[in-house]
């Protein structure tokens, strides 16, 4: 039983970590702010969700498990709203406006 749970944890956490990697790659590779945004909010919420799921069998108490789930729910809620807000904060022209820096044209 414990072995199966451990296996579950490993699979789930590994998958979650991969989602984080995917999100980061998207953040770096996608061409403009809005597409980055959409890719990202999904990737990181799924990543965190899978990691939380994987960790559940490893925590001793139900309360601690509920706490982990609460963290995920909160991140989900915040991520969704903030994603929307950020999308609203990016006028189409923003990518050609000021505040830029670094080497990218």
């Amino acid at each position: 039983m414990s072995l199966a749970l451990d296996l579950f944890t490993i699979m789930s956490v590994a998958l979650g970590a991969l989602f984080f990697l995917a999100g980061t790659v998207g953040l770096l590779r996608f061409p403009d702010t809005l597409t980055r945004l959409h890719a990202l909010t999904k990737a990181d919420n799924l990543g965190l969700g899978l990691i939380v799921l994987g960790l559940l069998p490893q925590v001793g108490s139900v309360v601690a498990g509920l706490g982990l789930i609460a963290v995920w729910l909160l991140a989900l809620l915040a991520g969704a709203t903030v994603g929307q807000l950020l999308a609203g904060a990016v006028p189409p022209s923003e990518s050609r406006q000021s505040h830029r820096e670094g080497s990218r044209p």
Binding site: D6, A17, L40, I51, G67, L74, E101
Partner: protein
């Protein structure tokens, strides 16, 4: 299992470090905030992994705090960026003409 969780934490931290490139390069502030948002979620994930691996108490609370404050920071960013307070060159926001306080004699 502990080793695996720690390894997963290192992996997630690695993707976080990769995501930092976006903060560096921008080009817009929204991109930077987006990257910070991903880093926030990644940080929470790494925290949960670390905490479960080392049996840290009150882990969920720290995670909740991080998630809450990350959301709060994003809202603050959006408010600041869209409320017209954003200036691009020095002193333009100055309103001037405020009378100085009385000089005590």
């Amino acid at each position: 299992m502990t080793e695996f969780l720690l390894a997963a934490a290192v992996f997630v931290l690695g993707t976080v470090a990769l995501g930092l490139v976006r903060i560096l390069r921008g080009p817009t502030n929204a991109d930077r905030m987006l990257a910070a948002q991903l880093l926030g979620t990644g940080g929470v994930a790494a925290l949960l992994l670390l905490g479960v691996a080392t049996g840290t108490s009150a882990l969920a609370e720290v995670g909740l705090l991080l998630a809450l404050l990350a959301a709060f920071a994003s809202v603050a960013f959006v408010s600041g960026a869209t409320s017209g307070g954003h200036t691009t060159s020095g002193g333009q926001a100055a309103r001037g003409g405020e009378e100085p306080g009385r000089d005590a004699g």
